[in-house]
Symmetry: C2
Subunit: 135 residues, 2 copies
C-alpha cells in the first residue's frame, strides 16, 4: 500500500539475488531516498508476512530477501559469489521429505531446501582470475 513499502519492493525486484535489509537500505539511500532503516525492516516484515518475498538466512544468521516470480512453493539455486538466484521446483524432493517425515511418525511436515554453488558467469570469471592473475 504505502509508498515506502512499494519502494522497498521495487528495490528488491531490481535484483535477481537475495539482499539483506541493510543492503536494500543502502541501495535506496544511494538512489536519493530519505527512507529510514526502521521502515525498510517494517516493509520487509510485511512483505514476507504476506508471502510476497522469500526470506532465508545466510550462514552468519543475517536475513536476506528476494522478490520471486511465483508465490507458490519453490526452492532456490543461489550463487555463492554474486548471490543471484534461480527459482527451482523439486517434486522429487517434496515427495521425499513427506515420506521421510511420515516414516518417522512426524506430522505437519515441512522442509527447507536451498542449493548453493557458483554460477556460470562467476565460475568463468574466477577461473580466469585464478590462472592469469588479472585483478
Amino acid at each position: 500500500m504505502s509508498t515506502r513499502r512499494e519502494a522497498v519492493r521495487q528495490a528488491l525486484t531490481e535484483s535477481s539475488g537475495f539482499r539483506s535489509a541493510q543492503d536494500l537500505y543502502a541501495d535506496l539511500r544511494a538512489d536519493g531516498s530519505k527512507i529510514g532503516l526502521t521502515t525498510v525492516y517494517r516493509a520487509l516484515q510485511a512483505l514476507s508476512d504476506s508471502g510476497e518475498v522469500d526470506v532465508l538466512r545466510t550462514d552468519d544468521g543475517e536475513a536476506v530477501y528476494r522478490a520471486c516470480d511465483t508465490e507458490s512453493h519453490h526452492h532456490h539455486l543461489v550463487c555463492r559469489t554474486c548471490s543471484t538466484a534461480v527459482e527451482i521446483e523439486g517434486p522429487t524432493v517434496e515427495r521425499w521429505a513427506a515420506e521421510v517425515g511420515a516414516k518417522h511418525g512426524f506430522t505437519g511436515v515441512t522442509h527447507t531446501v536451498e542449493v548453493f554453488g557458483t554460477c556460470g558467469t562467476c565460475s568463468r570469471r574466477l577461473a580466469q582470475q585464478g590462472s592469469a592473475q588479472q585483478v
Copy 2:
C-alpha cells in the same frame, strides 16, 4: 582436548535435539560448572570446525548445535516442539541437487536440506491437550 570443550561436547551429547550456545551454557551452569559463556562459544566453534557437531540456524537466526552419530553428510528431521532430531540420509536428494546445479551451469554445488515436523510423541500430547483441555 581441553576439559572444557569435553564438557560442552558431553552436554550436547546428552540431548537428542539441537541446542543453542545459550542453552548449553545454562545447562552447564545448572550442573554446577563454572564455565564461562565465551568458552562455550569457543568450544562450539571448534567442534563445528572439526565437523564433530552439526550447526543450523533457527528461523530467528540463532545458531543451534547437535552432536550427531555420524560425521558423514546427512540431513535432519527435526521436531518443531521438542527439537529432537533424527538423522536422515537422502541419496535421492543428493542426486537431485547435483543435477539441478549442473543443469543451470553452477559449479561447486552444495545444498542444505532440513525437514521439520511434530514428532509422534509431541503430536499425541498436543492432540490430547487440544481435545481434553488437560493443561
